[in-house]
């Protein structure tokens, strides 16, 4: 088996029922709640980290202590109590339910709509399964294929031990410890995350998403992801999952760093569908994420995100276009319903010459939700011939929601060409009428129109996820039409 492609996988999935192996780290008790230097040291010790990593965490913790929680975002929420959280708990290996019958039927209905297989449903909702360790599990096969190419793809804790020189060189190089409040917190206490290194000139043969779906390590509260694409390499990475995930952790503060060296390309897609809270706005996940990538010469970073979950989303995947001719892209769909609040957007920092960036942001607000786009396009004095195109469209459904745009544009170079446009509108009655006339029900018609509205972004997702994301949009907006 020299090359294992997605097609092979699809074949295999058709013909063979496979089971997943639960991946359990170290059995351990949950740490006492609260955060202090000892806890940070203990986390580091628990993970068996080298001294430099412990110091790095402590440095971050010191910085965090002096920082204050940001309040500029256009969201309102009860601030989390940072001393009321346990910062380390062993992965929950105990099944939550004994059979699918015990699982919330609403959740199962959603799974069915998304077309998720029964086994996957079990895994996602935490139902106990007979764990059969296959002699050649799909995951291991994948790992082998990747290994042959020299691609490193493992958890960040593993990477810290196995590839310390790579981690040491790049961690914090894009998102420094003291970058912002949540990034500092994450740097101090991150529990786990992914590490990916693509060697020079290698084109990653599969969407790392596919792998992820099978060997998902469970979303941690403070994830740390580091993706390094060496010169001339290519990788497509997908995090998250279309399936609704009911996480008990209320606060999520992840950090993602992307490094695209000369001529490399990274495509990073996110589908986020965490628990948004109930229809009254109770509960739900706070998602405070720092994502940033740096592009060297001729490199390209492309962020694609579909945000439908979380009670509060606070997320700005950014690109630093440092090298000449580098390209940054940001495609986003943010859907908010009920009492959800999203403040999301991007930063494109043009430093190199002939750098290009594209921003397409589609916001859909329904119910009583608030949806904001906040973006920055910055052209530095040396960024000759920089080019930016931004488009933010908002769709409002119902009269209790809000759509906001806060674009910042700073140009310091006369050769810059920047275009920004934003529109806000609602679904036209004539459009719905047209569909109704042709026998399409109002709900279906709205799904159709919303899909058309977000097509530009959906097209950028890896194929199989695009299909699911479409369905996800429909589900997220279900019942929002009166």
């Amino acid at each position: 088996m020299s090359k294992y492609t997605e097609d092979d996988l699809r074949e295999e999935l058709k013909t063979k029922e496979y089971e997943y192996g639960f991946y359990t780290d170290i059995e351990s008790d949950t740490f006492p709640i609260g955060l202090n230097e000892d806890i940070v040291k203990a986390i580091s010790l628990k993970k068996g980290e080298p001294q430099w990593m412990t110091d790095w965490r402590l440095e971050a913790f010191k910085a965090w202590k002096e920082m204050i929680e940001p309040e500029w975002a256009n969201v309102s929420y009860v601030k989390p109590d940072f001393q009321g959280i346990s910062y380390y708990s062993a992965p929950n290996s105990k099944p939550k339910y004994d059979s699918l019958d015990e699982v919330d039927p609403e959740l199962l209905a959603t799974f069915a709509k998304l077309g998720i297989s029964l086994d996957e449903q079990k895994k996602l909702s935490g139902v106990a399964m007979d764990v059969v360790v296959d002699s050649v599990s799909v995951a291991t096969t994948f790992k082998k294929t990747l290994g042959e190419k020299g691609i490193i793809f493992c958890s960040i804790s593993e990477a810290i031990k196995e590839y310390p020189e790579l981690v040491k060189k790049y961690i914090g190089s894009v998102v420094p410890q003291r970058d912002n409040f949540y990034a500092a917190l994450n740097s101090a206490v991150f529990s786990d995350g992914s590490f990916c290194y693509i060697p020079k000139g290698v084109r990653c043969p599969m969407e790392l998403s596919t792998y992820f779906r099978i060997n998902q390590a469970g979303t941690g509260q403070f994830e740390r992801t580091l993706v390094i694409a060496d010169e001339g390499s290519y990788v497509s990475y997908l995090e998250g999952c279309t399936a609704p995930s009911r996480d008990e952790n209320q606060l999520h503060a992840a950090v993602v760093e992307l490094i695209a060296l000369d001529n490399a390309e990274i495509k990073y897609s996110t589908v986020q569908n965490w628990y948004p809270g109930n229809a009254e706005g109770k509960g739900g996940v706070y998602n405070f994420v720092t994502k940033r990538g740096i592009c060297e010469k001729n490199a390209k970073i492309s962020w694609t995100q579909v945000e439908t979950g979380s009670a509060i989303t606070w997320k700005y995947p950014s690109c630093i276009l440092k090298g000449d001719n580098s390209v940054g892209e940001f495609y986003s769909i943010a859907v908010t319903n009920n009492f959800q609040q999203a403040d999301t957007g991007t930063k494109m920092i043009h430093l190199g010459k002939n750098t290009k960036s594209t921003i397409i942001s589609k916001g859909i607000s329904a119910g009583k939700s608030q949806n904001s786009y906040r973006g920055l396009v910055k052209i530095s004095p040396n960024a000759d011939n920089a080019r930016n195109f931004s488009q933010c469209d908002s769709l409002l459904m119902g009269n209790d929601c809000g759509a906001h745009t806060f674009p910042y544009i700073e140009a310091k170079n006369k050769t810059a060409k920047i275009e920004h446009e934003a529109t806000t509108s609602k679904i036209g009655e004539d459009q719905i009428f047209y569909c109704n006339q042709r026998g399409i029900s109002t709900e279906k018609a709205i799904a159709l129109i919303v899909n058309g509205f977000s097509k530009d972004v959906l097209n950028k997702l890896p194929m199989e996820f695009a299909v699911e994301a479409k369905k996800l949009l429909e589900i997220s907006l279900e019942g929002s039409v009166g």
Binding site: W72, I379, P381, S394, L396, M397, G398, N399, D400, C401, G402, A403, H404, T405, F406, P407, Y408, I409, E410, A411, K412, N413, K414, T415, A416, K417, I418, E419, H420, E421, A422, T423, T424, S425, K426
Partner: protein
């Protein structure tokens, strides 16, 4: 002693000299307290992120000019739109100059703020309108505390004011540095129509800081045209706070022509308190040197079926900085709102900077709101076309830039202003052309 302390201590002296009644006294005291709490805005405040007042505030301004100055009309004639008949309200170093002015009480009041504040017959009006739409931010509050002079205009019902009104503020440079705080109150009653031109001009190279507040009330079906000509010299700074409260079916437009000054900040706020209101905000900015011009606009759509149009063009040369911060808020009740905003900029120098932040906050669903913002260069093919036809580079550039800003000029209703602005633009671009092609 920094400027804030100086202002606070001067207020005590100033307050003692006034013969205010309890009402005005309270307004002033509240205002100075608000200013004392907030101080001058800093870059840490979101609305002042791109504009720092530090360079302006470090001067030692005198707050109450001592001697009065007379200037001859001929010396300052060029600052008037003099080829049309108009009412004039002229201030020299903050003091009213009666021999240069032409005011009236004939069926309407075009007169002075000081008169309106002291005479009992205006009392009700002052209580109803004064400081009612101005925000309680630090700079408007500072002005409120010290407000003593400015234009007071009240046009009663069904009146078409035949001549435009010119409000001019001159500073003579008798003091080495002077701070002026003019306060204008303009009330236009039902169905009336007025055109107003405002200009601030420094006659010397001494530092001037003007913190001006203008409150405009456009009542039912009133039409207000307001033109601000800002072409001051490089030591004069202007912070202009204009608040417009519009009632049902009124039409208000403000054109801001920003060509001069060291630092200019225009806080232009429209509040639409009624249905079927139309608001227009337009501006041309052409600056160079180390000039800094900041347009900060707000259009607050409060009720349904209203429109707003914003169009700001900017051309930035040398080391200049341009800022545009346009905010549109659409309340939940303001259905069927049409709000448009455009901000187009050209950078002609490597050292010039543009910071722009168009902002939409929308809470209603049946609305059409859009904003567009561009930063670009002159079209090379258009340049080439003109060059092949023998038009020199400088003139070709000027023509393109004029065409670029023409959209704003086209809605100016007084032809003489249009001509004057055209001349200033030609002057700014260093060409000798009429542009009347």
């Amino acid at each position: 002693m920094d400027l804030k302390e100086k202002l606070l201590s001067s207020f005590l002296v100033f307050e003692n000299q006034l013969e205010d009644d309890a009402y005005m006294n309270d307004v002033r005291n509240d205002a100075i307290t608000a200013f004392e709490e907030k101080g001058f805005p800093t870059k840490k405040e979101e609305a002042w992120k791109y504009t720092s007042l530090n360079s302006v505030l470090k001067e030692d301004y005198s707050i109450f000019p001592k001697q009065e100055n007379a200037i001859e009309f001929n010396d300052i004639k060029k600052y008037f739109i003099h080829d049309i008949d108009s009412y004039k309200i002229v201030f020299i170093d903050g003091k009213y100059s009666s021999h240069l002015s032409q005011t009236t009480h004939d069926g309407m009041d075009i007169c002075l703020m000081s008169a309106a504040m002291s005479k009992p017959k205006y009392r009700l009006h002052i209580e109803n309108y004064f400081n009612k739409v101005a925000t309680k931010d630090s700079l408007p509050s500072l002005n409120t505390a010290f407000s003593s002079e400015g234009a007071y205009i009240h046009i009663p019902k069904n009146k078409m004011v035949a001549k435009p009104i010119q409000i001019l503020h001159f500073s003579t440079g008798n003091e080495s540095a002077i701070m002026l705080q003019p306060r204008n109150l303009i009330v236009i009653d039902e169905n009336s129509h007025v055109q107003i031109i405002e200009r601030h001009q420094s006659l010397s190279n001494n530092a001037v800081l003007t913190n001006s507040v203008t409150e405009i009330f456009a009542n039912k079906r009133a039409i207000v045209d307001y033109y601000k000509i800002q072409n001051d010299n490089l030591n004069a700074s202007l912070i202009d706070n204009t608040f417009i409260n519009q009632k049902r079916e009124s039409v208000a437009s403000v054109h801001t022509f920003a060509f001069g000054g060291k630092l200019v900040r225009n806080n232009l706020n429209f509040y639409q308190n009624g249905e079927r209101i139309d608001s227009t905000l337009k501006g041309i900015t052409i600056i160079g040197d180390k000039q800094h011009v900041d347009h900060n606009t707000l259009v607050h759509h409060i009720e349904p079926n209203c429109e707003s149009h914003q169009d700001y063009k900017g051309i930035f040369g040398e080391n200049s900085t341009g800022v545009f911060n346009g905010k549109i808020i659409v309340n939940k009740e303001a259905q069927k709102t049409n709000a448009f905003q455009a901000n187009n900029n050209i950078l002609v120098s490597d050292k010039a900077t543009i910071n722009t932040k168009p902002q939409l906050e929308i809470f209603a669903d049946d609305v059409k709101c859009s904003h567009g913002c561009t930063i670009g260069q002159l079209d090379e093919t258009a340049m080439f076309y003109m060059r092949t036809r023998g038009i020199p580079e400088k003139e070709a550039k000027a023509l393109l830039m004029y065409a670029f800003s023409n959209n704003v000029l086209s809605s100016v209703k007084i032809p003489e202003i249009k001509q004057r602005i055209t001349k200033i633009i030609a002057n700014k671009l260093g060409v000798n052309m009429g542009f009347d092609l």
